[in-house]
Point group: D2
Chain length 388, copies 4
């Protein structure tokens, strides 16, 4: 066992750290950061800066324009990127595009990659992942899928309604999960501007970090050709897993960066702000909170690194990525919450970035599997292991 970063990892770490500090953080107050994420205009400006810095799409292979990092290097890189809410968007490693690119690279045909992956990796277009449905459809339980894909000659007719579709507004590519007539799930690639796709509305949401916000999207006799099938017919759930395990982990990496940002802001404030005769941070009650922040970030980071290593060995890492998701999502949330508390009035207002990160982060304990679903998966494996 060895916790040393490679020279390349240390170099990337420093470069991203500097890029975020020098180039991205100054843009955080840009008025183009709206309730539904940075505007397309701002996003393109950010992408251009990252491209100039040679830091674009770190998870994509060089063949498609990225840096081709393995999971462990991503752990280092993405944490730095997450230090600003704008960082992942700038570096083109934000959800859902990052996971979509990963899945396309793993599963898509060469033709599909040229059409969708290449411009995605260049940050020219955005994508969305249309899986979650309104009640009584697919949520945490994907088997409840309601959207249908009926084969009509060479084409498929897709009908249904999706919900909480991040980034749909403004996306060019939609990856749509639908149920075949035989009940098996399949993913289709579609141009979001196709007739038959309608963005009903953009939802109000606690977070504001995802370009395009979260949308309700309906498919009304959307026609897609057989060439739009992603991978094999009927293998939709399997591919969702291919997407999910690493996508879940990259979420952890990015949010760890945001937690560290909160902690740094709170720590600096606590070192400076006086109350009751000494600096806030010299009060044990406050100091303990900051110590707990470091303990939480340490646990989150180590579990992320460990799972990244598992994935780099070629394993699926389902158990480990569930553990990392629960540990990291709950630990980073506590960090954000404590940072708000240490900051007091500063923490619940826009005076610092912390309130924004706090609001952005709440959904992290829910998406890519709520803590409860992961705990239940872990429990089922423990039960099975002990029932033999």
């Amino acid at each position: 066992m060895d916790f040393t970063l490679t020279a390349e990892q240390r170099d990337l770490q420093q470069r991203v750290r500097d890029f975020i500090a020098d180039t991205i953080i100054p843009l955080e107050q840009d008025p183009r950061c709206g309730a539904h994420g940075p505007s397309e205009d701002l996003r393109r400006e950010l992408i251009a800066k990252a491209k100039a810095a040679g830091l674009l799409s770190a998870h994509v292979s060089p063949e498609y324009g990225g840096l081709g990092l393995d999971h462990r290097s991503k752990a280092v890189f993405f944490e730095e990127a997450g230090y600003s809410p704008l960082g992942p968007v700038a570096l083109n490693i934000a959800a859902p595009d990052e996971g979509n690119m990963h899945m396309l690279e793993a599963i898509a045909t060469e033709e599909q990659k040229e059409r969708w992956l290449r411009p995605l990796a260049a940050g020219e277009i955005r994508s969305c992942f249309c899986m979650t449905e309104p009640d009584p459809g697919a949520g945490s339980d994907p088997s409840m899928l309601q959207t249908t894909a009926r084969q009509v000659g060479d084409e498929f007719l897709i009908n249904g309604r999706k919900w909480f579709i991040t980034g749909a507004e403004g996306a060019t590519l939609g990856i749509i999960m639908a149920k075949l007539e035989d009940g098996r799930a399949t993913m289709f690639l579609a141009d979001m501007n196709s007739p038959g796709i309608r963005i009903e509305r953009t939802m109000d949401a606690l977070d504001s970090c995802f370009p395009g916000g979260h949308c309700v999207v309906s498919f009304d006799n959307l026609r897609v050709p057989a060439s739009a099938i992603l991978g094999e017919l009927g293998e939709g759930f399997k591919y969702a897993q291919v997407r999910l395990s690493p996508a879940r982990l990259t979420h952890c990496m990015r949010w760890l960066g945001q937690a560290r940002r909160c902690h740094d802001v709170a720590s600096r404030y606590a070192a400076r702000r006086m109350a009751f005769g000494k600096a806030l941070g010299q009060h044990e009650g406050v100091g303990f909170m900051l110590a707990d922040n470091e303990l939480d970030m340490h646990s989150a980071r180590l579990s992320i690194w460990h799972t990244a290593w598992i994935l780099d060995q070629g394993h699926l890492g389902t158990h480990e990525s569930s553990m990392a998701k629960v540990i990291a999502s709950e630990a980073t949330w506590r960090v954000a919450d404590r940072s708000v508390q240490v900051l007091g009035g500063q923490g619940v207002t826009g005076e610092t970035i912390v309130a924004r990160i706090f609001s952005d982060m709440r959904a992290f304990r829910i998406y890519d599997g709520p803590s409860e679903v992961h705990r239940w998966s872990l429990a089922k494996r423990i039960f099975k292991r002990n029932s033999a």
Copy 2:
């Protein structure tokens, strides 16, 4: 010991509950509910409805147009009012006006009451409490007060800067805490439209339930006459305590109502929404969260009732109101957080009222004394008691 509600309390409870359900909840999606609270227009409409229902200003004595409830009856009434984020505003029992009215009734001269309390109790004007200052001024530690009041003849010249002043925008009355030349603190009543008062800006904030939002206010040679002194010269901190102990408790009451709302929304969703073969609420993992919600609300309610009883005995209840503040603010927060979690995607979006309450509620663990300050007060009393 007896936990029976009086017939009058039960009657008020039902009337407020019906009023909220029938009249206020339908207005929650009104577009006039903005980022900085309901508009003045909407507020006046809400007040009119409450007045028509005979439920206005329950904490103010009948002499000044209220219902004259004691603290225990307020506990019942305010919890029901809090069931909607708009409820306290409608019933004219929202912070900071509620606490300001309470303090005016306890301390102000007859003339001051006629000028300020009467229109406040009628919901015709709003008020703000100008105490908190930006770093390095008064926050949790009021002794760090920077704003000064210099006597010049019959007048006082007030200079300084306040921060996180809830409801300042649109308020008619400002209650300003300032330091005399001898260092003692004094409260002054001022018309917010006076020359010398400037609202620098309205702050971005996590919450959106307070009309007027939270503002930065500066005083630049504000002139007030001696008749504007609230109570005795130099007794500002004592009066702040008169305001704080009950104001802290009414916060607890209102937020308990909001927590119950979150819990009800989540419980109903959990009873209906299917996942993995049964209703969400039939999963122990979810059911336990809802059970914990009830345990938390029960503890919060009992500690509120207990402190209300202490206050009704004429005691200051400093120790008890600190306990109630910590218990209720932390318990209701956990309820809101669990409700978000149970609701999943619904919880982090505007699909239900829960996300809004969740955002509104975060500051409650901070204002009127953060949990840490109350714990420290309790600890000091424990230490003293055991050191004798």
Copy 3:
């Protein structure tokens, strides 16, 4: 709502407090306090002292030699009694006798009461409640009952094995839950010295406060007459409920007293012991723990009082007593644990009484329904209420 203690309650509170302080605490280091509870010899000595003080069997009606307290008065009395681990035994209000007496008084025939209740209430004999069975028998789920009662003529033949039977060693009365041939459960009263009853062994246990410890008891063709049936045939589970709801609450009362003892010992130590330049209790980190102790005890006490009031209204209080059990058992545990932590080395050794209470208390989160069973009961009720 009113939290005032009656004059009688205040008087009893003071008398028990004095009795514990003056008479019982000095006996805590008595060598007759063994691993399986105080010896019968010590117990009789304690009972004699309580009798002399006029404080024996507070929960039993005066007709049978007790003080006839209602539930609310018991809440006050039992908390004081619990301030010493020996207090409940001395005052003859310890589990399981206290609950057994309560049930006998509610259900037994006059003849049964004379034979069993009267000497129990006088502290002359002890009793045990034989319900729990070893795997795969009745534990948290009473429906898994394995012990059988077969009617043979006028008699019943009882066969089975019980486990974790508190106080069996040395008990004169055994209340035995068994399953009839038709599957219904029934309770029988038996002399523990009957042929057919064998105490297999006394179990090692974390606690050492119950006279007789916890035993494994087997019934091998135990013969009991029909007159030994408690109440109606086949109503065993119903009566278990009659016993459980108040028995659960009296547990809460007694353990609250023990928690307060831990807190007092820790608070005094923290006020005296120096570390890093000031008293332990002047360190916020320690002071916050003591503050949390008071918050936890406050919540526990209020929920106990509330449930006692419910029971005094003649209600079963199943929901409320579940809430009180979870709140009180978890809160008092945290108090004991924090007190150990504050005391450091003193806390984990026999230097103070706290380590003993800590060990004694752990099982409280398990018996009379583990927290998980109560949470699930609460959850089912919430689900049902919201599914209508």
Copy 4:
């Protein structure tokens, strides 16, 4: 970063695992396991078995009869050893001997090593570390040291009283921390059978895993020669740090093993025991607890490994070992506590090993620095880092 175990580590892991399972666990119910730890007789028998298995004194260099493991290999080895409460004693890696040997090897003269280290490493003698004192002496704050060492000619006269001295009864070597006349602390090596050393008593304690228990030891004009000084005169606190940082970490390793044992026992029970129609472990409420156990053990293990790696780089690792201590001691405690809860009545009695581990483990959150002291150390470093 790499989490791979070396072939040697995997081999040792398996060998220790087998040794514990086959040889040590069967002895756990040996009646020679008393309230103050295994008897000397049993200890020697255990040592003989470990020696035969070639697994003795893994942390000592081969030169002195050990396996010479680095910190990372110890992390693997000690966790396996800790799977039984008797394991560390058998393998001669239990506290306090293990830390004492480590310190002797690092600091002692060759002569001192031959006299003390060699027989210690062979398991022929035991040692104790005499640092902690009764109030008002040295506890968490070592600067409060009261025991004095006065130089008289070539000798030192030691006077004072120590407390909570683990293993003193039966120890041959005592390492005594005392204050010189100039106030500097120094460590002395003494034969515990020397005139002037008296073991006043063995304390009652929650734990029962340390041979010799915890004792009160007094020094009354104990005479030691200058050759008994460990290292340099006046450097006692520095050496205590040399001992503490790794000693703290080996504690974490061993206790992690014990936590895993608890979890395994509870998991197997949960997979088998039925309640309410299914296995306990199939209830989410129970399954979540077991999942949390795995999350906690994962975090503990990763933080231990990380700190071991830091120490293997030659760093002191003060910050990291503080983090590992807090994370591991609190996580393993939660694991033990949840395991008790899952086991119900089995958990609070001697029916399984879990109750014993639970009692043994409580002190771990206190010794080698209570969580509060570590949090405060972390906080001070955070403050300093942010104040620059």
